[in-house]
């Protein structure tokens, strides 16, 4: 196989931006249909009331918040890959950093929609903003829900700025090879970037600070999300391990989603020389690590429940594996902790089909993890007479389908119109002769 050069990298990535065929537009149309389905369901809920969702006593937090936590989690590995691994100078992150950052930005946008959907009366959202008003009523910043508003808004802003800043040199590459209206658009988007040493001097420094700031942010954001639960005195929620447990789970699910996205991308865009098997293998190895942390956290929860001798806590942890939602619990355990162990075998973690299949299973498992955490605890808390079950309604399923459709709709639009691999960072790898398996 020929060695990668600066030109082959540019050519490979720029080839992906050629006008797409009918299959692409058909896919986009189908996804748009899914988005419209979700939007229609949300509109119906706004017109009729939040009662159209399956949430009722005692389970008031259902799929909307399950999906909120799920999408925030998905967003996390983008920052892990683009920021944390950048600080560690892990060469294998460069080919997939752009796709992961893009995934982060869109996933946070979608996560941010769910609290609005969950509110029911979405027009009352301004109550969460510190706006001066005649009754001197302000948001309660002692509430973890307000931490969440601040953290998620910060995360969306920071990850979007990080993403755009990282794209600047690549936008200039496209500008320099485009013609007509496209050239004008990319000229504006690239802000007149010319790669002068002065620009690189400030850019490299600024990018490093972006990474250094995004690293504690990503840890804080999912810690804050975990405190939405952990600061409530609900059995199964009120535990100090939630913050690291949620952060590890978030990265676990995010890495799986990275594999789910980049494996088809690699094949369709013929990125085999850029996103090598070594890169995919490195993601798989990281999934083993995060899977073990998540498995350890599952075990610790049970241990603490047993060791505490708290009957309510013990009851909820008996209920999870044996009660009404036992199927969800076992899907969670198998998909998140046992299935990723298959990656210990090199033969499995270097086969594309296995990688893709396992990544899908981990995605499913991580969705169920959020279901198990959120629903089982409130369905089965202190008072047996208040126990109850929850089933998502068709409207909730419609909105969930809409959210997944919106994510893939935005992602597929992006990869065909913007560089889905960072050409500049790939060139840096080639220049340094660093190993990414090419």
């Amino acid at each position: 196989m020929r060695a990668l050069t600066f030109n082959t990298i540019d050519d490979t990535v720029l080839d992906t931006l050629r006008p797409p065929g009918w299959r692409y537009w058909l896919l986009i149309a189908a996804l748009f249909g899914g988005v419209m389905l979700g939007a229609g369901c949300w509109l119906y809920q706004i017109l009729v009331g939040v009662g159209v969702a399956g949430m009722n006593n005692p389970v008031h937090w259902g799929t909307y918040l399950i999906n909120f936590v799920f999408w925030v989690g998905i967003a996390h590995s983008g920052t892990l890959i683009s920021a944390i691994l950048h600080l560690f100078r892990a060469g294998w992150r460069n080919p997939i950093a752009r796709a992961a950052e893009t995934m982060t930005v869109f996933a946070v946008c979608i996560a941010g929609l769910f609290p609005f959907i969950h509110l029911g009366r979405v027009w009352m959202v301004y109550y969460m903003l510190p706006l001066p008003n005649q009754r001197t009523l302000w948001p309660n910043f002692q509430s973890p829900l307000m931490f969440d508003v601040v953290a998620i808004s910060t995360y969306l802003t920071v990850s979007s700025l990080f993403w755009y800043t990282g794209m600047l040199p690549d936008l200039a590459i496209i500008r320099d090879r485009a013609e007509g209206a496209r050239k004008k658009i990319f000229t504006v988007l690239s802000l007149g970037w010319t790669g002068r040493h002065e620009q690189w001097r400030h850019y490299s420094r600024g990018y490093l600070f972006f990474a250094a700031l995004a690293t504690p942010l990503v840890i804080s954001v999912h810690s804050v999300v975990s405190w939405d639960f952990a600061l409530g005195v609900v059995p199964g929620w009120h535990t100090t391990i939630f913050a690291p447990y949620f952060v590890a789970g978030a990265i676990h699910s995010g890495l799986a989603m990275v594999l789910t996205l980049i494996i088809p991308l690699r094949r369709i865009f013929r990125y085999e020389r850029i996103i090598t098997v070594h890169v995919l293998e490195s993601v798989a190895k990281t999934i083993i690590f995060t899977g073990l942390i998540v498995g350890f956290a599952y075990g610790t929860e049970f241990f603490i429940a047993w060791y505490s001798h708290n009957p309510v806590e013990m009851a909820i942890f008996q209920y999870r594996p044996t009660g009404d939602y036992a199927v969800g619990f076992w899907i969670m355990v198998v998909c998140n902790t046992l299935v990723p162990l298959l990656f210990f075998f090199k033969a499995i973690r270097t086969r594309i089909g296995w990688l893709f299949g396992i990544s899908i299973l981990v995605n499913i498992g991580m969705w169920y993890e959020r279901f198990v955490i959120i629903v089982t605890s409130v369905a089965h808390d202190f008072l047996p007479y208040a126990w109850g079950l929850y089933h998502p309604s068709a409207i909730e399923f419609g909105i969930m389908i809409g959210s997944f459709s919106l994510f893939f709709f935005l992602f597929f639009l992006f990869v065909k119109h913007m560089p889905s691999v960072s050409m500049t960072e790939m060139k840096e790898i080639v220049h340094q002769g660093a190993d990414h398996g090419a």
């Binding site: 590459i173 040493h197 690189w200």
Partner: protein
Amino acid sequence: MAPEAHVMGLFADETAAAGAVEGIKGSRWRLLRTHSPIPSRRLAEAVGVKKSPVGWFTLAGGIIGFFTGFLLAAFTAARWGLIVSGKPVVALVPFFIVGFEFTILFAVFGNVVGLILQTGLPRYRDLETYDPRLSGDQYGVVAACDAAERPALEAFFTGQGATALRAFAGEDEAGRKAHGLSHA
């Protein structure tokens, strides 16, 4: 003042470009700028760039952010000063979390402001004296000389291994200042 010419040498190799920079620094010509498709440590060392001050903007943003976040939370709590569950109205631990998030947010804003101010972006005028190959695989060195010395400067670049040359009309002193051009 004699008319001035600006000549750009394009190099396929970073080391050759750095060599050209070193050569110009010790000559009667004036180094204007270099371009590279990736951040180049070798070129930066040859040009002798200093550490970027962007971090100071980031730091300032972070400090402003922490106090903004903490004081916003404290101010809003103080406006409705009911003691709930015996907890202080201005609670340090939860408000520190708000302060932390604002620290990151404003530090990033400071970082972006620093980048914009220091790089001067957006700056579309530079594209008039730019070559599209510089974002591909070429390194560019641009130097100024008297118009009469242009052939000598071009010969120098060729001797250093330049794969292509480009010449641009020189600018007056005001234009150079507007571009922040360095003097050798």
